[in-house]
Amino acid sequence: MRNRLARSYGVDEGWGYPSRRDRRAADLFWASLVGEPAARPQTSFGSALTTGSVAPPSEAALIHTPADEDSGEVIDLPAEALPAGQTASTCDISKTSETLDQFAHNSSTLTAAHPPIIDALADCLLALRADPRPIRNVDIAGFTDPTGTATFNQGLGERRAKAVRDALVKALNTRSAGSAATFNFRLRSAGATQQIPGGNPGNRRVEVSVDIAVSDIVVHASDTDTHEIPSNLGGAGLEHFCCVKNTGDIVLQALIAPSIPGAIGGRLTWGATGTAVTSPAVGTDGRTAKLSSAAAGKFPIQLNWDGAVVRRAVVWVIWSRIDVTCTRPPTTPVVAFAGLSITAGIDHTFTVDPPAIVTDADRPALDGPNTAAVPGAALTHVISGNPLAGGAVKKWDASRQIRMKVLNPRLYPVAQLPPVAGHLWNGQPAATTVPENYPATDGQGNDDTHHCDETNNPYEDCDRVTALDNPRMSMANATGANGDTFETRFQFREFLRVNLGTKWYRASDFSLWRFHARFLRAGGAWTNNGSAFARDNAGF
């Protein structure tokens, strides 16, 4: 918390600069660039850190006016008026730079006001070192007022920078032995070449700053349905972020090192091609941005720092078109047993959208074996009893859901029904049973224990995945008496699923179809009693 703030605001210059002597003890690093006046001139380091790009504060927001400079009065800022997110600490890690000024004329000796700043700098640097992406470089630049020759001022600036460096090294090592060696101090002198308003004491200064680097883009923790998928080109490729359609906002986060959210201000911006990108996506955190997953597509995105592109990536929203390519109405195949079999069939083709996710030279590596068990892997198939775990081996997978109803009005016992290894006949004998219903879990294929009847390789099949099914039901003539009926209603939902990271997602609409196998016992044998096939789920 900057519990005591004093800041001047030069209207003509369009940027503010703290000038109070006593501001330093509390206002250690520069104020977060959020709220810092715009158009601050580039300072000595040429570092983006010292360039604000947000609007100047309103008058009401100013802590004090130039008139206050002369008063010497310290203004206590009420805690409730402090910017959100700032906490009471002498180490304000929302700042990335600090100035030690008021050096005596022609002197590089630290003043009495400097040690507290040095101490707080040391605290902050050690705190920042604990960041997952710790800082390494600390820039220290010395400046002078305009009096004296350029050569002299160059040397004086260097001596001031060294004096601060030496004090900082001592303070660091006092706090943690050897810690100073973990930083790379980069010293330079700007002499009198970069004057700031406020007079010579303010120009007799040393600025200490740390670099901010945009090191990565990641999926924000609040978004559990977008997954970063490595490029098929490995490290040579872009970052790829994938989700399926209609899974909410895609929320991304830039990782900066050190992670000082408040230091971003408006300098970090996001761009996207083909869709809108909104930042911040989470609270006021400018590191975050969101895109919609409402439409399938390939959306290149970019991260800009001070207007320059520093990171490119691609967001993929995945879906697929599903087409029925062949239907086979109910027939009665010749089967070598004393009874009747009825079968029907359907073929589906899924065309992945956007096709570029399959055809681009640099694309997410969604080919090859899957990396997660399919939903419901431990469950078993209603007829075969085989585990659903075998339903997929690749990351793309044509799958199917099934629900079944058995109409057994004559209450045949299980022994008189076709043998199955699964739970199809659970509850028999009963006039009506539903031994299997559609799974509640999206992406679970409860009629998918194999991949032998699917292609699942859009990379070698024109962006396509195919599946076929020919369900069959039989009744033995040894069962029943003339006039009896028996019916099994098979209803299906075909879909494509895709394995992203540790999860599976449905990546297509459902294609509905049904096969109702109806048997009538007549003339001592079972006959087809108007079995039905349709591309809907009616009449269950």
Binding site: A336, G339, G345, S384, V420, L424, D447, D469, N470, R472
Partner: protein
């Protein structure tokens, strides 16, 4: 080791499951191998047990395999394409296992008649 444990093992550590089957083969445990091949829903395990019986060879193992083949030689009556392919695959694997156990070539065809004839021939051998 119980069948359920073996089924878990084949999922989690296939090489250990293979080692367990190999142990049964080394001790010519035809009854256990036949029970695994008959009862397990883990197709990989069933296949290993069938191959194990073929490795053991001899009249007892051949008899067990022929019995399994006979059970698998019923027509496909209920299920979808996956179940039908499963059915055919199990039949084909058993035909080849019986042939290996007997040290004869498998029949060229897979028609019901071909398989029936092969079963009869295997019973007589």
């Amino acid at each position: 080791m119980r069948l359920e444990e073996l089924e878990e093992l084949v999922e989690e550590n296939p090489s250990e499951a293979e080692a367990a089957i190999a142990e049964l083969v080394s001790t010519s445990s035809v009854g256990e191998l036949a029970e695994i091949a008959k009862s397990t829903r883990a197709q990989r395990l069933a296949g290993s047990a069938m191959e194990g019986l073929a490795d053991v060879g001899g009249p007892e193992a051949t008899g067990a395999l022929v019995e399994l083949l006979e059970q698998a030689s019923t027509p496909f009556l209920i299920g979808g394409t996956e179940q039908q392919l499963d059915h055919q695959r199990r039949q084909d694997r058993l035909v080849r296992a019986v042939a290996r156990a007997r040290n004869v070539p498998p029949p060229a065809g897979r028609s019901p008649e071909d398989i029936e004839e092969f079963i009869e021939e295997s019973r007589r051998s």
